[in-house]
């Protein structure tokens, strides 16, 4: 039934950030690469141009760049005792689709995870004792350290042109940067973005309380940058339409601006869009992938044989692809056995609003996706947890990304929810409110996991992914503690009213919190607790590499993209320098 196509060296499942990065490395290594992208091709010109791109209703509310939930969605429940139902509209998180993937509509916040994140179990037990981590937490080491990843973070940031200020350069601490970061070899490619007024107020208050504010590292650039691929990324114009939108100014680092022009010119690369991969085909032993089966935009089914497969889709889809293909053992929360779908984690976010009178003019609309000022004093293990009863942490910052009219309506508690009084309150507070963001870690928990839904299917008749998730007590405690610290900073910012509160349970998918869905194809050094080895190679099917935030054993305080980029280069390096010379398992067990 399916048409069998001529074999190729490598197939990319998904041509987003990971796919385009690894695809580029593979063609440079001489491989013929076919990129299969389920969504549409799209480019800065003409697809992201203004004024149509600044259509808040279309892109931010109706989410035009996000996966079509009528064809493919996720079912959700809080715990195993419930029956999951499909999400008919994306609200809580926004998995992208189309060429460039979610890296088209991201905000550009670009942080490195710390060594205390990557070696979390080892370092937590070292500092606080063997019994500090509750037994139901599946916190584990990644199999790589910050020092291992440093060159790959560096390479990714130089590809993207990231704007920031180093705080720890070659072992030396530098004023103005993040003093808690692990040592980096080079300064950021471009200087930090300009600091908006609200961020300046936050900086003064945070510094006054003894914290260490620094500019948020950003992939909306402060000045033009020509990257090692010869691509020029331009200066962010602070248009206020960043996350959920494509950038019309060539100013947001994305596959479109940083990589695709080079990759698409490469004769060794073939892009096929609107191609939905149904499964990875395995041989009879289930230890070797033969290629993929996909359906094109006309509904025709194809088999694309390949020697090497790169699963580089959105984190949740990476997990689903392995489950649909029968690669690895699905996780069973009842027994604790199995690994695919284990270690699902999220991001524990909360907010604090500081309301001013009319003399403080904030201009919230004049923002970039990733401008702002933050502190890392409560990130990861940068503070003493011994008496706190939780692990992990959060950054606190004034990182407002927009003041778009449909979405941004800060009003104090007690304001009517609609009507004239609400309108008056919005008019009063719109330009005089500073929002602080508390962006916190998420531990993996025995009960939180991903598997295939027993009932609901997608447009191709395949089971949807089912998410079972609620906030672990550990993270609610963390949110309580750090949100309290953020509230103190808010009070020091001189407003007339500070309001906010920590994240509470139950988790709901009807309120946007974060698109940082992590885990499910965890990396590690022990195949009993991980899906891929430290080079992101499947333990079970060695010619399959799975790359993305799905590799995270738990989620850290910071935004994940820098780490996804670093892991992509880390895996590409292992493939081109080790695997291609001797295809087979890179780690023997």
């Amino acid at each position: 039934m399916a048409t069998r196509l001529p074999p190729t060296d490598a197939v990319l499942l998904g041509v987003g950030l990971v796919g385009s990065m690894i695809g580029r490395e593979l063609t440079k290594a001489g491989l013929n690469v076919v990129g299969l992208e389920r969504g549409e091709p799209r480019y800065t010109v003409p697809d992201f141009q203004s004024p149509s791109m600044h259509d808040e209703l279309r892109y931010a509310v109706r989410k035009a760049l996000i996966t079509d939930a009528a064809r493919e969605t996720i079912t959700f429940r809080n715990n195993d005792g419930q029956t999951a139902l499909p999400m008919r509209r994306w609200e809580g998180f926004l998995p992208g689709t189309g060429l460039g993937g979610s890296a088209v509509h991201w905000n550009g916040q670009t942080y490195r995870f710390q060594d205390t994140d990557l070696r979390m179990r080892t370092l937590t037990e070292q500092r606080y004792g063997k019994n500090f981590l509750a037994p139901e937490l599946l916190v584990q080491d990644w199999g790589v350290s910050a020092a291992d990843l440093e060159p790959y973070y560096d390479r990714f940031e130089y590809l993207m042109g990231t704007s920031g200020k180093a705080g720890h350069l070659n072992g030396r601490k530098i004023d103005g940067g993040n003093p808690f970061e692990d040592s980096r070899a080079r300064e950021y490619p471009t200087p930090p973005q300009k600091e908006p007024w609200g961020s300046q107020i936050f900086r003064k208050a945070a510094a006054g309380l003894g914290y260490h504010p620094f500019p948020q590292p950003s992939c909306n650039l402060s000045q033009p940058w020509v990257n090692p691929e010869g691509q020029r990324i331009e200066t962010c114009m602070f248009c206020g339409f960043c996350e959920r939108f494509g950038c019309e100014h060539f100013a947001k680092s994305s596959p479109q601006t940083a990589l695709l022009p080079a990759l698409l010119k490469d004769p060794k690369f073939t892009l096929r869009t609107q191609c939905q991969v149904l499964r990875i085909d395995l041989d009879a032993s289930k230890k070797r992938a033969l290629g993929v089966t996909y359906v094109d935009g006309a509904g025709r089914e194809f088999q694309q044989p390949a020697e090497l497969l790169i699963v580089g889709m959105f984190a949740l889809n990476n997990v689903r692809m392995l489950l649909l293909s029968g690669i690895g053992t699905p996780y069973d929360p009842a027994t604790g056995r199995g690994t695919v779908g284990r270690n699902y984690a999220y991001q524990t976010t909360s907010g604090v609003n500081v309301f001013y009178d009319r003399s403080t003019v904030v201009n919230p609309f004049m923002r970039s996706g990733a401008c702002g000022t933050v502190i890392a004093d409560f990130v990861s293990d940068n503070f003493d947890h011994s008496a706190l009863g939780f692990v992990g942490g959060a950054y606190v910052g004034e990182v407002m990304s927009h003041g778009r009219p449909i979405e941004f309506h800060p009003t104090p508690p007690g304001t009517p929810a609609w009507g004239s009084a609400w309108k008056q309150a919005v008019a009063e507070h719109y330009n005089h409110t500073i929002s602080l963001n508390i962006h916190g870690s998420s531990v993996s928990h025995r009960a939180n996991h991903l598997d295939l839904d027993p009932t609901y299917k997608d447009a191709w008749g395949l089971p949807l992914l089912r998410m079972t998730f609620d906030f672990p007590t550990n993270d609610l405690r963390m949110s309580e503690y750090v949100t309290g610290k953020a509230t103190e900073i808010g009070r020091a910012m001189g407003g007339k009213l500070v309001s906010g509160g920590p994240r509470k349970s139950p988790y709901t998918t009807t309120q946007y919190q974060s698109t940082h869905n992590t885990g499910g194809t965890t990396m590690g050094t022990d195949r009993a607790t991980s899906v891929v080895n430290r080079y992101l190679q499947s333990w079970d099917v060695p010619n399959v590499f799975v790359v993305g935030a799905s590799n995270f054993p738990q989620n850290a305080s910071y935004n994940p993209t820098d780490t996804v980029g670093a892991l992509a280069y880390w895996a590409a390096d292992a493939i081109t320098k080790q695997y291609l010379k001797a295809p087979g398992p890179l780690v023997r067990t």
Partner: protein, 314 residues
């Protein structure tokens, strides 16, 4: 560090608290607002300088025309109806050398801050469409084509101009002019000048200035890069396209919505929101408060009936 003056025109509807010129001017309210500040400029002073000159500076009208309509023969731009912020910034740039021009530099230097401001305000207040540019618009593509080949070339050029203006060119990595200069080139105050109805010769000359670096007034570096990527033919096509558009209509004035306390009576409003049961939402730094956020958003709990809602699927 100060965020340079608004890269974003305030385009919010009047229902929102767009507090006018002051808001659009600077991210830092304590900083002096050079552009489009609230303090009124001296209208009489501006008109006098325009008509008669001042302190050794020649009268603006002698080159830019009595109504600020420009002079096509000499590439003096139309300045009527440009935003006060843009005009003043150009005068400042001529005075401090960020933009070089042998005619304008001595004039700008001869004016003090208040005079530059006054004359900028004077021209900003004039309607852009007034008057035909002195000596006609020779460069407008209005000549009757005499041969089919010429017509085809002209059509192609016109299509190219429209493409650059409203779509851009992916291969050249040139974005649409409309991204910053507004749909139809009407401009976005205070920073981005209108292009519609501007004289073609001036537009080409301006691109040449950006390309050569004699105009260095864009801290983002976007305009020099764009100008470098446009060929001479592209610059001509773009200039012809915009010059053929009608001059920008009177600009929407910055809207100041005066805040007033809610009336005590006859207020139709929803129930008071209780704190959200699930915590304050936060979308990449913008707390998701208020009525648009759906159940679970704190601050404003919509309809007051789903506070503490459980997850869907239950």
């Amino acid at each position: 560090m100060k965020l340079h003056r608004s890269r974003v025109a305030c385009r919010l509807s009047v229902a929102l608290a767009c507090v006018g010129a002051a808001l659009a001017a600077s991210a830092q309210p304590s900083a002096p607002r050079a552009a489009s500040a609230a303090a009124p400029a001296d209208a009489d002073l501006g008109a006098r300088i325009a008509a008669l000159g001042a302190g050794g500076a020649a009268a603006c009208a002698s080159c830019h025309g009595a109504s600020g309509e420009g002079n096509a023969a000499a590439n003096f731009p139309r300045i009527a109806g440009q935003s006060i912020g843009y005009l003043q910034r150009q005068l400042d740039a001529y005075a401090n050398g960020a933009r070089t021009n042998p005619v304008m530099m001595p004039i700008a230097k001869a004016l003090d801050d208040a005079q530059r401001r006054a004359v900028a305000a004077h021209y900003a207040a004039l309607p852009a469409g007034t008057g035909n540019a002195t000596a006609g618009n020779a460069t407008k593509p209005t000549a009757t084509p005499k041969a089919t080949a010429t017509t085809a070339a002209s059509n192609a050029s016109s299509a190219r101009g429209r493409q650059l203006a409203s779509v851009g060119d992916e291969n050249e990595r040139v974005q649409a002019c409309a991204n910053c200069h507004g749909p139809g080139g009407i401009g976005q105050a205070p920073d981005y000048p209108y292009l519609a109805g501007q004289l073609a010769g001036y537009l080409q000359a301006a691109l040449a200035e950006w390309k050569s670096g004699t105009r260095n007034t864009d801290p983002s570096g976007q305009m020099p890069l764009i100008a470098q990527r446009l060929s001479d033919a592209d610059a001509r096509a773009m200039a012809a396209y915009y010059s053929a558009l009608p001059a920008a209509p009177p600009r929407e004035r910055d809207v100041a919505v005066a805040w007033r306390p809610a009336r005590a009576t006859n207020v139709v409003s929803g129930p008071k929101a209780s704190g959200g049961a699930q915590g304050v939402g936060s979308e990449q730094g913008s707390a998701t408060t208020g009525a648009s956020q759906g159940p679970g958003g704190a601050g404003g709990t919509p309809q007051g009936n789903r506070s503490g809602t459980t997850a869907p699927g239950n």
